[in-house]
């Protein structure tokens, strides 16, 4: 058993605690999810259990030992996998296992049988002698887990093991964690994916260092029982407008687009008929099962109305004060192709990162590139931005070829990079000034757009603050503002919302929807399956190839079967990956 008693951690120079008076108990025999967006305090909590950080105040007890005093004892029964897996890249699979077995003093006689078991479990037998650096993301992650499991520890800490790997590998990892842990083992699994939280036995939900919820994930979703509905029957354009309006409604907690439907949760329990009549002009509303994220958002919203702190970003990000502007854009030709990829191929030496990627994006369309890290989506993306020169094939942005006139093409697109590409030492306003200059806006135009952006993105109160010290949600807004200052016809977003909390994510998507409804073609990469539901079209990328493309509904339809009557996008993706692997194996 692990007990946190009023545990607080304040890092040197920080203004707010990374972990604020956490009191919680974690029971053995279960997988406990430590859930929350970036900056919630997940890693800090896990590191303190491992004795890697010392609490500023309060204490942590691990199986009766004090985490600060009895560190060595705790580490003797601990399996720990840090965020980057902790593998030695220049060592082979077997050498990594052997090293950790020796560092944890696994008796020599037990090594062989333990290795065989773990290699069998991870499917890495065939790759025993391969260097860790040459493993795929999913394989690295499994090896990381195997190294943490090598002595069958009583306490297993996994820090964001699911980041950036494909959904199939992620599922296999869950299976491993379940089957390898015994009835007395504590497994701690941190994640910022809300859908992953639903798989845990118990969860600790953290946000900005504070514990919001502790208990079974179902109990959190139960908060919003009979309050969540799906409504169909709107066109793509209508859906965006309706969602934007709903999010301003005081009775609505959350509204999102999910494929061809709208998903809404309300403040109070309602019957489907009431929902249908009061909010959707009689369109049919079906009650659906709430998920973990619904509960999370419900807590955030209710605590937001309780403590009206002007500087709390998660709350501010979702508040209606910063709702996007009313649609002003005129009509546009919805069939006009703005972005086009034609057989885009990129090779790095013998390695093909992207192979004949083809798709096109029309005006007002949101197009998603979906796939795990290393699948080739970023490579394809960078070629379309003019940041990487294709080995063969070509891409076009409103007619300008990336091969022949890449600077012309680049002028017409707005690009928001994964890490936001802001200058941390410049203020919000200076960043806007700089990008305005880079895009070649003249002084008067630049000033006008900057003033507009400061209001529209609610950045005025932060305009003099160095962008490096802005809250994550505001950084994200500022990045979007800088990327669109020159009114581009195409907007390219590379994993724009990873790590930000769900409220900030929703608010971000509302802005993106806004651009789309004004006729901007949007290309977005993501590894969040639920985020892909916002897209009009999705291309699944795996192993450098596009393995499928379609609307979210069409892709889900392909996975529908008797065992799986209601497949999610993740189910669809997993099936496609499995099919892809089978063909690969058949060829091999």
């Amino acid at each position: 058993m692990i007990r946190f008693e009023e545990t607080t951690k304040i890092f040197k120079g920080a203004t707010r605690p990374a972990l604020d008076a956490l009191t919680a108990t974690i029971q053995p025999g279960k997988i406990t999810g430590v859930v929350g967006p970036d900056g919630a305090g997940k890693t800090t909590a896990l590191r303190m259990i491992a004795g890697l950080l010392k609490p500023t105040s309060g204490r942590i007890e691990v199986f009766g030992y004090d985490a600060t005093r009895d560190t060595r004892t705790i580490r003797s029964f601990l399996g720990y996998m840090p965020q980057k897996f902790g593998l030695y890249e220049d060592l082979s699979v077997l050498e990594n296992l052997t090293l950790y077995a020796k560092l944890r003093n696994l008796p020599r006689s037990q090594r062989r049988s333990q290795f065989d078991k773990l290699l069998g479990f991870t499917g890495l037998e065939r790759f025993q002698n391969r260097l860790a650096r040459r493993l795929s993301g999913g394989m690295k992650q499994k090896l990381g887990l195997a190294c943490a499991f090598v002595t069958t520890p009583r306490l297993l800490i996994l820090d964001e093991p699911g980041v950036g790997v494909d959904p199939l590998s992620r599922r296999e990892l869950w299976r491993m964690a379940r089957e390898l842990s015994g009835p007395e083992t504590i497994v701690l699994w941190s994640t910022s994916y809300m859908d992953e939280a639903g798989l845990c036995d118990e969860t600790l939900l953290l946000n900005e260092g504070r514990l919001l919820f502790a208990g079974k994930p179902q109990d959190l979703s139960a908060r919003v029982r009979n309050r969540v509905f799906r409504i169909r029957g709107y066109s793509a354009l209508e859906r965006r407008r309706v969602v934007t309006n709903l999010s301003k409604n005081a009775e609505v907690v959350d509204a999102t687009i999910q494929g061809d439907a709208i998903r809404v949760s309300f403040r109070s329990a309602l019957s489907p008929e009431e929902v249908s009549n009061r909010f959707f002009n009689g369109r049919e509303a079906t009650s659906t099962d709430p998920c973990f994220e619904d509960g999370f958002i419900d807590i955030l919203r209710s605590s937001a109305s309780l403590r009206a702190e002007p500087h709390s970003h998660a709350v501010g990000a979702g508040s209606s004060s910063s709702a996007p502007r009313v649609v002003v854009g005129g009509r546009f030709d919805r069939d006009e192709v703005v972005v086009e990829a034609r057989k885009l191929t990129k090779r790095f030496g013998a390695f093909t990162a992207a192979s004949e990627i083809e798709f096109s994006i029309k005006r007002g369309e949101i197009f998603g590139l979906l796939g795990p890290n290393g699948a080739g989506k970023s490579t394809s993306f960078k070629m379309l931005c003019g940041l990487l020169k294709p080995t063969s094939g070509d891409g076009f942005v409103s007619g300008a070829s990336l091969r022949r006139s890449s600077s012309e093409a680049r002028k017409r697109l707005g690009y928001m990079a994964q890490k936001f590409s802001l200058y941390p030492n410049l203020t919000a306003e200076q960043n806007l000034e700089f990008y305005g200059g880079v895009y070649g806006l003249d002084f008067r135009e630049r000033r006008r757009k900057i003033e507009l952006a400061l209001d529209e993105y609610d950045l005025r109160r932060y305009s003099g603050v160095a962008s490096g010290s802005l809250p994550l949600g505001y950084k994200q807004r500022l990045a979007l503002a800088t990327a669109t200052l020159h009114s581009p016809v195409a907007l390219f977003l590379d994993e724009p919302t990873s790590g930000v909390d769900p409220l900030a994510r929703r608010e971000f998507w509302r802005r993106v929807d806004q651009f789309a409804s004004e006729g901007v073609a949007v290309l977005v990469t993501t590894h969040f399956m639920d985020e892909a539901e916002y897209c009009d079209q999705i291309a699944l990328i795996l192993g450098g190839k596009k393995i499928a493309q379609g609307t979210p509904e069409a892709l889900k339809e392909r996975a529908r079967s008797r065992e799986l009557p209601n497949p999610t996008l993740e189910d669809a993706f997993i099936q496609l990956i499995q099919k892809g692997r089978e063909t690969d194996d058949a060829i091999a």
Partner: protein, 378 residues
């Protein structure tokens, strides 16, 4: 059966070895760079001035004046060009065509005939300070040689000694041919070992922090001393390997004499490597960013070692503050020890004194490392 501690330490060392030999950048620092540096110091860098271009303005056409010119022309140190008058020669000096001009005035032969030492003027380009000193010395030497020969031809008392010129008979000891290579190659060994001990160690530790392997290792039962020894031992041994390589290249490729014993050589190298590795470990416990850590390593190890090894710059000629500072850097003691081992032999009193100084510095660095190392992330 090994004790658990020892087993973990062995595993760490083994891991470090595997990594070094699989990582091209580590191999580069450990083996390729030393060879390149040895060759730069051995071949490229030489302070022996040879075939320096000088101009001789011969205003006196007498036979003695011509004999004087021949003295310059005959040595391999100078390539002498002839100028008919002073202004042409001075122009050549100003244009940088020649490094120095020797002006033989028109009363040169006459003065010599009178039995007095004739005077000649030397104008030397001072832009390259080192070279100008050498040229000056050689020019004086040539002049002295000329006078000696004239005296021998005319009988010793025929010419009075020139004012200001003292007949000095120098006898070089230990580095008989006065080859700068003989002192430069040992000096470069100092830099090579400092690089492996400090720079390479700093780099590999910082990389472990960046890749998260340090965090994973800390979360095992590995203790602080195992951690430190697990890094210290492999790079210490690697440094000894490089020292061996250097000695072989110095002796057989550059023919630098090796007059001391291998015992003295390895003992001093070991003490120095302890200090260098200690410094590397200390830097990387304080700083975990690869770029910053390696910059600190370069600035705090390579650069001062380069300056204070006394190889390129004469420590005795430095201002007092710098001279005092030089005592804080192990390079100062190690460079002179190495030069002694290579060219003099086992001068044990001197070597032991130096080793004690390096050892003291090494213990300070290592103790600081132990104090600063935590089995936590902060």
């Amino acid at each position: 059966m090994l004790s658990p501690k020892f087993e973990r330490l062995l595993a760490l060392i083994q891991k470090e070895w595997l990594q070094v030999f699989r990582d091209p950048s580590a191999l580069l620092v450990a083996f390729v760079l030393p060879i390149i540096m040895l060759f730069i110091f051995g071949f490229g860098l030489s302070f022996d001035a040879k075939h320096v271009k000088i101009g001789i303005a011969l205003e006196d056409r007498g036979s003695s004046a011509r004999a004087f010119w021949n003295t310059f022309d005959a040595t391999e140190y100078f390539d002498a060009a002839f100028y008919g008058n002073r202004s042409d020669a001075e122009q050549a000096l100003a244009d940088g065509d020649v490094r120095a001009v020797i002006i033989v005035p028109n009363d040169f032969s006459e003065t010599l005939e009178r039995g007095e030492a004739p005077s000649a003027q030397a104008l030397i380009d001072g832009t390259e300070a080192n070279l100008s000193v050498i040229v000056e010395a050689y020019a004086l030497g040539a002049y002295a040689k000329f006078l000696t020969r004239e005296r021998m031809e005319r009988g010793s008392s025929a010419i009075a000694p020139a004012a200001g010129i003292i007949n000095v008979e120098t006898q070089m000891r230990y580095n008989e041919s006065r080859m700068t290579r003989n002192s430069l190659v040992p000096g470069s060994i100092v830099l090579i070992l400092a690089m492996i001990g400090t720079l390479l160690t700093t780099l590999v530790v910082a990389r472990e922090w960046e890749r998260g392997t340090m965090e994973a290792t800390l979360a095992t039962a590995v203790g602080k001393f195992e951690m430190i020894l697990g890094k210290l031992i492999p790079y210490f041994l690697l440094g000894l390997g490089a020292a061996t390589l250097c000695a072989v290249v110095a002796k057989y490729a550059f023919h630098v004499p090796f007059r001391g014993s291998l015992t003295a050589y390895y003992l001093t190298a070991s003490v120095f490597l302890l200090a260098a590795t200690g410094q590397g470990l200390l830097i990387s416990t304080v700083c975990r960013d690869q770029t910053i850590a390696s910059s600190i390593a370069l600035l705090s190890s390579f650069l001062p070692n380069f300056i204070f090894s006394g190889v390129l710059f004469e420590i005795d000629a430095m201002p007092l503050v710098l001279r005092a500072l030089s005592y804080l850097f192990p390079a100062r003691y190690y460079a002179s020890s190495l030069q002694t081992i290579f060219m003099v032999g086992d001068a044990w009193t001197f070597l032991v004194k130096n080793m004690a100084a390096i050892g003291a510095l090494a213990s300070i660095l290592l103790v600081a490392t132990v104090v600063k190392t935590r089995s936590r992330l902060e």
